[in-house]
C-alpha cells in the first residue's frame, strides 16, 4: 500500500518489517521500525521515543531560581544547555539583565558544550557506523603513518611506531575474545568502505579523543564547579572575578583565566588537527553514499544562540544563526518568533498523549499533556511486549512539534543551512571550502554525511568563538569591570505577582526552548520543546513524517538484518531521547492544564 505524505515522501508498507530496539549509541532510549522492499530499499520508517520522565510537572510550584538545576537533569549529555535556557526564561519573565562578563562566561561554557558534544558524538557515538576497528588490524602502520601525515601534517602523533603500538593493543584486545563495546558489531558488513589504514587512523583517534575530551569541559569545571551539570544562577554566573589583592585566590583570578585560555587553545588544536581532517578523509571515502537527507533540503529550523552582547536575543546579535527555511527554498529565510502562538505548535494524534481535540496543535503556552499509552489495532504483540508498532495509531512518547505546520529538522546541519541561506560569511566559506575539498556539489550537503560534516565545521567555528569571548572577558576585566551577577531581582519580593517568559538556546543537537509562567513567586507552568522532539517527531494529523523518519526513506541497505545504515543515519542527528519529556499529573490521569493565553 503506497501513500504520499504531504511533505513529499512515498510510503510503502509492503516488504519486510525490520525492528531496531534498542537503538544504541544515543542518549536515552529509542526504537526504529522500517519496511524494506525486495530491492533492499527502505520504503517506510517509524521512529519511536521509548522513555518518558515527566520533569515539567515536577517543576510546578518550585522556586523559579531552582528551575535550572531540575531542567539541567533533562540531559547529562547536552548538560548545561537546559540550565542556560532555563535561566534565560526566568530572566525574560522577570526582566533581569545580566552583566557582559556573565554573558561571555556563559558563552564560553555553552561553546565548550557544543565542541565537546560534537567531538564525542562523532568519535564515540557515530564513528563505528563508518569505521571498522577490526579491519584496522590489517593495516600497515607505515602506510597509516603516511596517510596521517598527508591528511593532517600538524598532528604530532603520526609515527609508524605509534600506529604499530595502537594496533598491537587493539590486536591483544580483539584476540582476548572479550570485545567489550565492539562485541556483536557488524564488522564484516560490506557497508564499511574504509581501507584498513584509514580504519586504523580513525580507531586511533577514537582513543585519542576519548583521552582528550575531558580537557574541553575543564572550562565549565572552573566557571561552574563540576561537569556534567555545572552550576548557574539567575542573573549572571556564580563565579566571582577578582584578579587583585589578598582576596584574589578566592575567585576567578589570573591562574584560573590562564587555565581556561590554555584549554581553549588545546581544544582548537585537537579539533583542527584531528577532527576536521578525519571528517574530510572519511567523507572523501564515503562521498558516494549520500543517503539520509530527509528534511534537511526541505525544512530546517534554528533559534540561534551565543549573543554577542548581553541581553539581546534578536537574530542580528546572535552568532549562531536564527531562522526557518521551508519547502527547500534557500532564497528565503523566515524570521522565527517563539511567542507567536501560530508558529510553534505541538500535535499528538500519533503520540502517547491525549488532547480534547487532536485535530489542532497547541502552542507551548497552551500546552496540555495527558499521557495515554495504547497500541494501535494493527500492532503486533502485547502492551508490555511490543513486536511491531502500528504507526497509523499512537506510537511514541514524543509529541509532534510543527513550525507553521511544517515538520522541521533542527541541529548543526539545520543551523548551517540557515546560515548558508542567510549569506552568513563564515559559515558559507566553511561550507564552500568543504564542498571543494570533497569535490561535491551543494546538494551533497543534504545528506547523512552533510549532517556529520556540518557538526565538525560548527565545532571548529565554536573554537574560534570561544577565543573571541575569552578575549572579550579579559578586555573588560582590564577595563575595570569584574561584575558577574545582577542581584537587583534576586529577592522574590521584588517580582511581579504574575510573569511569563521564554528562553532559548541551540543545544548541540538543535533548537531548544523553555516556556515558563510564574505566579506568586512559584512556577505555575513550565514547558520545554527540545531538539529531539523536533527530529524524533512522529507523524502529525496531516500525515507528515518527522525528520528521523524522512531521513531513512529510500536508503539502500546492504543486509536488512544488520542495521548499519539505519544506525548511521539516525546517529547523524545525535539523538537525545531523555530530552523528549512532557508533563503529566500526579495521579497519572487528570492533567489537563488549560492555560490562558
Amino acid at each position: 500500500m503506497a501513500i504520499q505524505t504531504p511533505n513529499g515522501f512515498n510510503l510503502d508498507t509492503s516488504g519486510k518489517r525490520v525492528v531496531v530496539d534498542p537503538l544504541t549509541r544515543i542518549e536515552g532510549h529509542m526504537r526504529c521500525e522500517v519496511n524494506i522492499g525486495p530491492d533492499n530499499i527502505i520504503h517506510n520508517a517509524v521512529s519511536t521515543g521509548t522513555m518518558w520522565r515527566g520533569l515539567e510537572v515536577i517543576l510546578k510550584g518550585r522556586d523559579p531560581r531552582d528551575a535550572w538545576a531540575f531542567t539541567q537533569r533533562i540531559c547529562g549529555v547536552c548538560t548545561g544547555t537546559h540550565a542556560l535556557t532555563s535561566v534565560r526564561a526566568v530572566e525574560d519573565a522577570l526582566d533581569i539583565k545580566i552583566p557582559e562578563n556573565a554573558n561571555s562566561i556563559r558563552n564560553i561554557m555553552q561553546l565548550s558544550l557544543q565542541i565537546h558534544d560534537h567531538l564525542v558524538h562523532f568519535y564515540h557515538l557515530h564513528a563505528l557506523d563508518w569505521v571498522n576497528p577490526v579491519n584496522a588490524l590489517k593495516a600497515d602502520p607505515k602506510a597509516t603513518s603516511e596517510l596521517q601525515q598527508k591528511v593532517s601534517p600538524k598532528h604530532p602523533k603520526s609515527s609508524p611506531g605509534y600506529f604499530r603500538d595502537v594496533q598491537n593493543r587493539l590486536k591483544r584486545f580483539v584476540e582476548s575474545g572479550q570485545l567489550g563495546p565492539f562485541k556483536n558489531g557488524y564488522w564484516d558488513n560490506p557497508a564499511y568502505l574504509l581501507p584498513p589504514e584509514a580504519d586504523l587512523m580513525a580507531t586511533t583517534h577514537y582513543l585519542e579523543a576519548l583521552d582528550f575530551q575531558s580537557q574541553i569541559m575543564k572550562t565549565r569545571v572552573i566557571f561552574g564547579g563540576k561537569d556534567p551539570h555545572p552550576n548557574w544562577i539567575v542573573g549572571g554566573v556564580p563565579c566571582a572575578i577578582n584578579v587583585d589583592g589578598v582576596g584574589a585566590v578566592g575567585a576567578i583570578n589570573m591562574e584560573r583565566l590562564n587555565f581556561v585560555s590554555d584549554v581553549i587553545n588545546q581544544t582548537t588544536e585537537f579539533v583542527e588537527n584531528v577532527y576536521i581532517p578525519d571528517i574530510i578523509a572519511i567523507g572523501n571515502l564515503y562521498k558516494g553514499w549520500l543517503y539520509g537527507g530527509g528534511l534537511s533540503g526541505k525544512s530546517v529550523l534554528a533559534y540561534g544562540d551565543i549573543p554577542e552582547n548581553a541581553n539581546d536575543y534578536s537574530a542580528a546579535n546572535l552568532l549562531l544563526p536564527q531562522g526557518a527555511v521551508i519547502n527547500g527554498n534557500l532564497k528565503e529565510v523566515h524570521p522565527v518568533d517563539l511567542r507567536d502562538p501560530e508558529q510553534i505548535q505541538e500535535f499528538v494524534p500519533h503520540s502517547w498523549y491525549r488532547y480534547p481535540d487532536e485535530k489542532v496543535g497547541l502552542h507551548p503556552w497552551d500546552g496540555i499533556t495527558v499521557p495515554h499509552y495504547e497500541l494501535g489495532p494493527n500492532a503486533k504483540g502485547t502492551k508490555t511486549n511490543i513486536i511491531e508498532l502500528d504507526e497509523n495509531a499512537k506510537y511514541s512518547w514524543i509529541k509532534a512539534p510543527r513550525w507553521r505546520g511544517h515538520a522541521m529538522e533542527v541541529g548543526p546541519l539545520a543551523r548551517y543551512v540557515v546560515g548558508y541561506a542567510s549569506g552568513h560569511k563564515e559559515i558559507t566559506e566553511q561550507i564552500n571550502a568543504t564542498l571543494a575539498a570533497l569535490n561535491v556539489p551543494i546538494d551533497a550537503l543534504f545528506s547523512t554525511l552533510g549532517r556529520t560534516a556540518a557538526r565538525a565545521l560548527e565545532a571548529q567555528r565554536c573554537c574560534h568563538l570561544q577565543r573571541h569571548f575569552m578575549d572579550k572577558l579579559i578586555a573588560r576585566i582590564k577595563a575595570g569591570d569584574s561584575s558577574t551577577a545582577n542581584v537587583e531581582r534576586w529577592d522574590p519580593e521584588t517580582w511581579p505577582k504574575e510573569a511569563k517568559g521564554v528562553g532559548f538556546s541551540e543545544a548541540p543537537r538543535g533548537a531548544l526552548a523553555h516556556w515558563i509562567k510564574i505566579k506568586d513567586t512559584k512556577i505555575d507552568n513550565y514547558q520545554c520543546v527540545v531538539p529531539t522532539t523536533w527530529n524524533g517527531s512522529p507523524r502529525d494529523n496531516e500525515g507528515n513524517i518527522g525528520a528521523f523518519e524522512a531521513s531513512l526513506m529510500d536508503t539502500k541497505v546492504e543486509r536488512p538484518e544488520e542495521p548499519v545504515e539505519i544506525l548511521r543515519t539516525i546517529h547523524s542527528f545525535d539523538p537525545c531521547l531523555a530530552c523528549s519529556t512532557h508533563v503529566m499529573s500526579e495521579d497519572g490521569r487528570e492533567l489537563a492544564r488549560v492555560k490562558v493565553r
Binding site: R73, S176, L207, D227, A251
Partner: protein
C-alpha cells in the same frame, strides 16, 4: 590473549619491581602472608577482565559522561584494559537484537562473575512502559541482568535514591535499584553525577583488590562518602570565622568566603567533592562560587530551594541564625585556637622529654 592488569600497569610505565611491591603491600593489607605475593602477582598477570553489563533506565546519561571524564585512570584504560564492558547501550557498536543477545550470553557464560552497573532507574507506573527496551519494560531487562550477577553498582543518584524523576510528585513512579532487586550486594555511588575519579576508583578497587569496598549503613563506599563536604571544605575557616558571602558577586564572594548563607548544603552532604574535587582536582562547586546543592543526598530535590539556608545543622546549636553563629564562632574559635596551641605545646614538651 587478553591484556591483563599487569600488562596495563607495565604499559603505563610501572616496573615489574614496583608491581611486585604493589602485590606485597596489597597482600599485607588483606592480612595475607608473604607466601601469597606470588599467587597474587600471578593472578593479576593472567586473569581475564571482569565482564560488566552497564544498563540505562530512566536517566540523563550524566553518569556515563562523568565516567569518561575521569583523569586517573583514563576511561580508555578502564574500558579497554581493566574490565570488559560488554553491554553499555551508550557506546556499544551493536544494536537491537544483536545487543540484547549480549545480555543473555553474559548472564549465562559468566554466571556469578559479572558486575551489573546500573545508571538510572526503573519506572513502575504504566506497567513499566515509561522506559521500554526491546519492546519490553526496562524493569524486565534489569531483573534478568541482575539474576546472575556478582554485585550491582548503582551509579549516581537515580540508581541510588531515585533522583530528579522521583522528585515530587514522581509521575512515573521511578524507584531506585534496591527497591526492586533484593538479593544482590549493591554498592551505591550517589551524586548527580558522581565524581568521575570516584567512579573509576570504585571499579579499579574491585578489579585490583578483588573484593567489594566497605560500605556504610546506607550502602555507600566509606572511603568516599563517610565525611561531609563541610568537614573538609577549604572555605571552612571562613565559616568558623563568621565570614559569609551575603549576595552573589559581593566583596565577600570575590574573596572566597563561606557560601552557607547562599544556601550551601555542604554541611549535610556526604561526598568527596571538597577533597577529591573534579577532573583531577581542577575545582568543585564551592570553589567556583556556588553552594553545594547536595546532589549525592537522598531526596535532595525535595528539601526546599537550593538557596534556602540550612537550619538543621547540629553544631549551630538550637535555632541560632548565621549572624549570631558568625559572631559566636569567631569568639569560640579564637579561644579554641589558643587552647589548642597550649595543648600542642605541652604535648611537644612531653614528647621531647620522652625522647631524651
Amino acid at each position: 590473549m587478553t591484556e591483563t592488569f599487569y600488562e596495563v600497569l607495565r604499559r603505563q610505565g610501572i616496573s615489574r619491581r614496583s608491581f611486585l611491591k604493589f602485590c606485597s603491600l596489597t597482600a599485607a593489607s588483606l592480612g595475607l602472608g608473604p607466601e601469597f605475593v606470588s599467587t597474587m602477582a600471578n593472578a593479576l598477570e593472567t586473569k581475564p577482565r571482569t565482564p560488566v553489563l552497564w544498563l540505562h533506565g530512566l536517566e540523563c546519561t550524566c553518569c556515563s559522561e562523568a565516567f569518561i571524564r575521569s583523569a586517573h585512570p583514563l576511561a580508555s584504560d578502564v574500558i579497554l584494559s581493566m574490565i570488559s564492558l560488554d553491554y553499555d547501550d551508550t557506546i556499544m557498536a551493536a544494536a537491537g537484537h544483536q545487543a540484547e543477545a549480549i545480555v543473555d550470553e553474559i548472564i549465562e557464560k559468566y554466571a556469578g562473575n559479572y558486575i551489573l552497573a546500573c545508571e538510572g532507574n526503573p519506572p513502575l507506573n504504566e506497567d513499566g512502559m515509561y522506559c521500554i527496551i526491546g519492546g519490553k519494560p526496562y524493569l524486565d531487562q534489569l531483573k534478568k541482568a541482575a539474576s546472575n550477577c556478582k554485585a550491582i553498582i548503582s551509579w549516581g543518584s537515580c540508581a541510588s535514591w531515585g533522583c530528579v524523576q522521583a522528585a515530587r510528585p514522581n509521575p512515573t513512579q521511578a524507584v531506585p535499584i534496591h527497591k526492586v532487586i533484593y538479593d544482590k550486594p549493591i554498592i551505591k555511588v550517589p551524586g548527580c553525577p558522581p565524581i568521575p575519579e570516584v567512579m573509576t576508583a570504585i571499579i579499579t578497587y574491585i578489579a585490583t583488590f578483588e573484593k567489594l569496598p566497605e560500605l556504610d549503613r546506607q550502602g555507600r563506599p566509606k572511603m568516599f562518602y563517610s565525611q561531609r563536604i563541610h568537614d573538609k571544605c577549604y572555605r571552612r575557616p571562613h565559616f568558623d570565622a563568621g565570614q559569609f558571602v551575603e549576595q552573589w558577586d559581593d566583596e565577600s564572594a570575590r574573596k572566597g568566603y563561606c557560601l552557607y548563607k547562599m544556601g550551601c548544603k555542604g554541611p549535610t552532604t556526604y561526598n568527596a567533592c571538597s577533597t577529591t574535587r573534579w577532573y583531577g582536582g581542577t575545582s568543585f562547586p564551592i570553589q567556583s562560587g556556588h553552594g553545594c546543592i547536595g546532589c549525592s543526598e537522598d531526596g535532595f530535590w525535595d528539601n526546599g530551594s537550593f538557596y534556602n539556608r540550612l537550619t538543621n545543622i547540629n553544631q549551630f546549636g538550637v535555632e541560632a541564625n548565621a549572624d549570631e553563629i558568625g559572631l559566636a564562632t569567631a569568639g569560640v574559635v579564637g579561644a579554641a585556637v589558643a587552647a589548642h596551641a597550649a595543648v600542642s605545646a605541652v604535648k611537644r614538651a612531653r614528647t621531647k622529654g620522652g625522647n631524651e
